[in-house]
Homo-oligomer: 678 residues x 2
């Protein structure tokens, strides 16, 4: 089957976008019809580039053999270098004044270009397309085996992935949907070799505006074309400067941050944050790193955090967490971690689970999810005093421990990789308040506005920041500013890696002197690379437009309290339906459910809990493949689709983009419901 | 001044490339003349995208107001979203049969579109262009101040960068050249506000094929358009698979590697390598990480390395090095580092400098640079036995140290960040041989082919790999395979960050089991992101073509021995001229010089050596600005240019791309020579 499109590649369609974007979800192999006229070399190349920008595979270029301009000659060699064949076809005859002659000449022309001996350009082209098609299928078919033989996956026990059908072959992706090769999947209900699959981990937590968003591609291309990469020390360029200003003044740093330090991923961003905090502490408490304080004492600095924390996989970031299955030979837990109370929905009710170390009352039911995140109200409840007392007494005990606590490190609201643990925000808030004001850290208290006090406070917002939980920043939820924060993942819209560590002026000053050795001697070659910065700028633009578009209002309204029809500005909300969440939490196989923003977390009731549990994976495995239903599929193309999802032990989670269509959310909810309630 | 180009944006120029690429080094602001005819919406948008792909700033789009197709209407709203103004101009009159009438009509038309009252579309456009121009200059002028107020630079003491003229404002880059705003540079000799500057650090060691190479931009765009980012665990996609196969089978992993593990930068790649090596050692020596061996013992594992090593800035990678100015509070030097002999050119002579710990004879003159890197020949010299004896006796002493050595970690040939230390390859080779075969590590020796023996050997090739030193891989120079290697920087051609850790099957097997906890539980969200992988594939393509193009033959021939006119395949060579290097090394202010491939390192004779020294910076500072000479500048545009360079204490280094034009290399050499010899 051939789909012939009308006009140029960017001709508008009825939906308002141009053909290239409208047809993109179908990801059809493409023949570009080139232009043989004056100017046709340029328009053919530009059309090709517009196709490439949207990921299209151009198998061949066909154009008329115009003997005057001879565009095909230049284009053949131009595209040969790119591995694209150019075929020139004899042009049709000039229009004749006599209609019958005209018809006759045209018919002759057609017979001439497709002669009965099956020779000539058109047949060459068809044969070439056949070869392309065959090779493409062979390649797709060979990919699982070749992958199993060459790739070492992150976080994967290769002993568990032995057969070709266990390998997810992603041929392309568009919006929230992967296009998978399912030639090895005997259970698939789709007749097509390519099957759509909803990207239920928002591509490992990075995705914000759908795969292959043209605006992000253009941003990447423009920065690549203008700069490539340019070394950053003592230098500046617009993409980095604009991003820094935006984050510091108008983004998550608004109101407290003065500086942006760029690095390559959340883990390196956290290493930078730790280096900043440890030095700031050492400078104030001990008179500075370079002042002759012994190594042992400096190495003995530690962090205060929460059990279940996870700040990235490099060894330094890992050392800010407890030992666990993720930690390596060199891991050394450098700090102390409190067991935090958590929030979840159980049997349709929002509950606070309080660990026995804090209170004998282990479960506190609350009025609603919204109320639970209203810190001002919660301060009035008895739990606030219980938390404060527990934290103060714990810190008193820690004063005699071997490690000198030098920083408070928190994932605000949710500890993601630790198992989607929704921490009670009241507990985090009181912890910060106590650290900053109590006599636990008398030597480093400060009353100067803007100066860190007690301990520098680091917010690891890599997962929770930038609208993942429905808020640009989670800072207003806690009502206090950090001294250092880290953003990554959504920062670059789910396209390329980058992280930014924001710091207050009080932290920056600890490194400022006339001596080079006092500086933050940390950096990566691609620090603040223009492509990453420009993609981030554009991702933040797209997200800002989305947040103002009104598209989220319907979801927000569902989470408003019964008295209100609209959420308050600080009110928590979710893209997932509250009734769905509530009903899900009542299922016998479900222990608890929790949601905020794009995240849905389902803890399977399982006695062998923890990271090694496979219960969530087993229970939900079937939803990876598509299901034959009567329902019309809401994804572009209308095919039935599977759902790709990831688990953390007995926790299955599902994550949306910020522009996932409501009907797709509904379909995903329905599929989860059917699977878990059956 | 307006430069009117002919035909479409991609019309060919006489040089064979199209206009877009030919004019790109000039980076002129652009007005796109759109197409008002049928199909003109598409060709206008595609032309715009081709401009954007090369980084052009399109200030306005002008097209005729064709009342039938009304393209300007659609285009105005389409481009409004992108912040580009579209202006529609009344079309010229139809051609009249009478020539005089024709002339008259045409003149009337011109008067009509530029009326004497200065009103109308053309004047609006000119005013808009004026505004764009003014804003652009104001923005450039404001960038240093804004940067000083918001950015926290890597490796920079902000106390040293206080004034606006100290900030390098990079407006664009092309080939090897930055385009700098020099409005704050009162010493500049250029009348233009923009001044070219040679990128002498090859953009912090990443650059391989020049800035803004169109092939790399297209590769980034195609992967972004086809996939965005797709989660990688248990998944595969073509860009990652092709890159992995290429590196493992045909690249630096050829002959020994079986697996590719992706991460985000050299530092994370080294953390992965260390985790691999430590585990492999623990499994064989101690029966595995999870087998109940105490934490203390595992933390006590250490690495063997060389003094001056540097493996990246994350804390774990730093722990594989000695303490130094770069290390943070949490640093703990986990290992032992031998003081290595080094190679350099002094007073025109290649010498091996042997540290006193190894031999009383501190300087050994050699026949030539080429001979010094001929390991087979060098094995026959007395130094080989001296090295072996020293290494064996050192390892014997280390058997009683607190740390159990668990890996040998080397930057082969050159230790870059440690100060461009060119290590004697014979020493590294013998070190590897001894580690793999001596009785220093009797419990972990293996005679099975392909299995690691003694200690897993890690090659940190982040800086030295992929042609930085003139060789695809430095492995043939040493003549032995590693068990683990890390590549980054040039891997992605100087565009976006990515690293790959290659491992032998013997290492991979240490993590292979039926238990999830045994797996390498490490990963970053953007692991194997398609844009990075596709850019890497294309960068390797471009470099492979270069290496086969014969373009390097002239430089290679200069480094051939007097008996030969061509280098042997393993012969060392440099893009820098041997006579220049030799003469430079004889200058009184120069201690020693060294070069291989693209790297030129100049150690300034300075008693206060080390990272805190500013001698190199002071001596060379003048070359950052352009110089008025009679010579015609070899860079595109022909302007005089400055040279951007970086120092490591008293070492100044200069680094080229793999396609820097020979006449530019010559000009850079001349400038260095004039500066240091004056």
């Amino acid at each position: 089957m051939y789909v012939e499109t009308a006009g140029g590649v960017h001709s508008p369609t009825l939906s308002g976008t141009t053909q290239l974007d409208s047809y993109r979800p179908l990801f059809l192999p493409t023949i570009l019809i080139g232009d043989s006229r004056l100017g046709g070399i340029s328009s053919t190349i530009s059309s090709y580039e517009s196709l490439v920008l949207r990921g299209y595979i151009v198998d061949a270029i066909l154009l008329f053999r115009d003997e005057y301009y001879r565009n095909w000659e230049y284009l053949s060699s131009y595209f040969a270098e790119k591995g694209v064949q150019v075929h020139a076809v004899d042009p049709p005859p000039a229009k004749h004044t006599d209609n019958n002659t005209n018809i006759q000449l045209t018919e002759q022309f057609y017979w001439k270009i497709v002669p009965s001996n099956n020779q000539g350009t058109i047949f060459d082209t068809v044969r070439h397309l056949d070869i392309c098609h065959t090779q493409r299928l062979e390649e797709l078919d060979s990919m699982p085996r070749r992958t199993l033989d060459t790739i070492w996956w992150p976080f994967v026990q290769h002993g568990h992935v032995k057969t070709e059908k266990d390998v997810t072959v992603i041929d392309s992706a568009s919006g929230d949907v992967f296009s998978l090769y399912n030639g090895h999947n005997t259970e698939s209900s789709t007749p097509s070799l390519l099957e759509p699959q909803f990207d239920g981990s928002a591509s490992w937590w990075t995705q914000a505006v759908g795969h292959a968003h043209p605006a992000l591609t253009m941003a990447a291309a423009q920065a690549a074309g203008r700069y490539g990469h340019v070394m950053f020390p003592e230098a500046t360029h617009l993409p980095a400067l604009k991003l820094a200003e935006r984050l510091v003044k108008f983004g998550p740093g608004r109101g407290w941050a003065s500086r942006a330090f760029f690095s390559d991923d959340g883990s390196t961003g956290m290493e930078v944050a730790l280096k900043m905090a440890l030095r700031a502490f050492a400078v104030r408490e001990q008179g500075g790193l370079k002042s002759g304080i012994g190594m042992e004492k400096r190495r003995g600095l530690g962090v205060l955090g929460l059990k279940g924390s996870y700040h990235g996989d490099t060894i330094g970031a890992m050392d800010a967490c407890e030992e666990g299955v993720y930690t390596s030979e060199w891991h050394e837990a450098k700090g102390f971690w409190l067991d935090p109370p958590t929030i979840s929905v159980r049997n349709g009710q929002t509950v606070i689970s309080v660990p026995p170390s804090i209170s004998a009352e282990s479960e506190v039911e609350t009025q609603s999810l919204g109320w639970t995140y209203d810190i001002t109200e919660r301060f009035k409840t008895p739990l606030a005093a219980v938390y404060r007392q527990h934290i103060e007494s714990t810190l008193r005990k820690l004063r005699n421990s071997e490690r000198t606590l030098a920083a408070l490190v928190l994932e605000p609201i949710v500890m993601g990789a630790g198992g989607m643990i929704f921490v009670d925000p009241l507990f985090q808030r009181i912890l910060i308040d106590v650290v900053r004001s109590s006599n636990a850290f008398p030597g480093t208290l400060s009353t100067t506005p803007g100066e860190w006090s007690g301990l520098p406070v680091i917010f690891d917002e890599v997962f929770v920041g930038l609208y993942r939980l429905g808020f640009e920043s989670i800072i207003p939820l806690l009502g206090v500013f950090p001294d250092i924060s880290v953003n990554a993942k959504i920062l670059t819209g789910g396209l390329v890696p980058m992280a930014v560590t924001l710091a207050s002026d009080s932290i920056f000053k600890a490194f400022y002197s006339e001596k080079k050795v006092d500086a933050l001697l940390h950096g990566h070659s691609y620090t603040a690379y223009p492509v990453g910065c420009e993609v981030a700028n554009e991702a933040l633009n797209v997200i800002e437009k989305l947040s103002k578009s009104g598209e989220w209002e319907e979801a927000k309204a569902r989470w408003a309290s019964p008295q209100e029809t609209k959420l308050q500005s600080n009110g928590v909300w979710s893209f997932w339906d509250p009734d769905f969440v509530s009903e899900l939490s009542k299922l016998p196989c479900v222990g608890e459910v929790m949601t905020l923003g794009t995240v849905l977390s389902i803890k399977i009731a399982d006695d062998t809990a923890g990271y090694q549990s496979h219960s969530a994976q087993k229970l939900l495995d079937v939803i990876k493949s598509s299901e034959n239903t009567e329902d019309v599929s809401p994804i572009p193309g209308g095919s039935p689709f599977g759902i790709n999802y990831r688990t953390l032990g007995n926790v299955a989670y599902f994550m949306l983009s910020l522009n996932t269509a409501p009907e797709i959310v509904k379909a995903v909810e329905n599929r989860i419901w059917r699977t878990l309630s059956s």
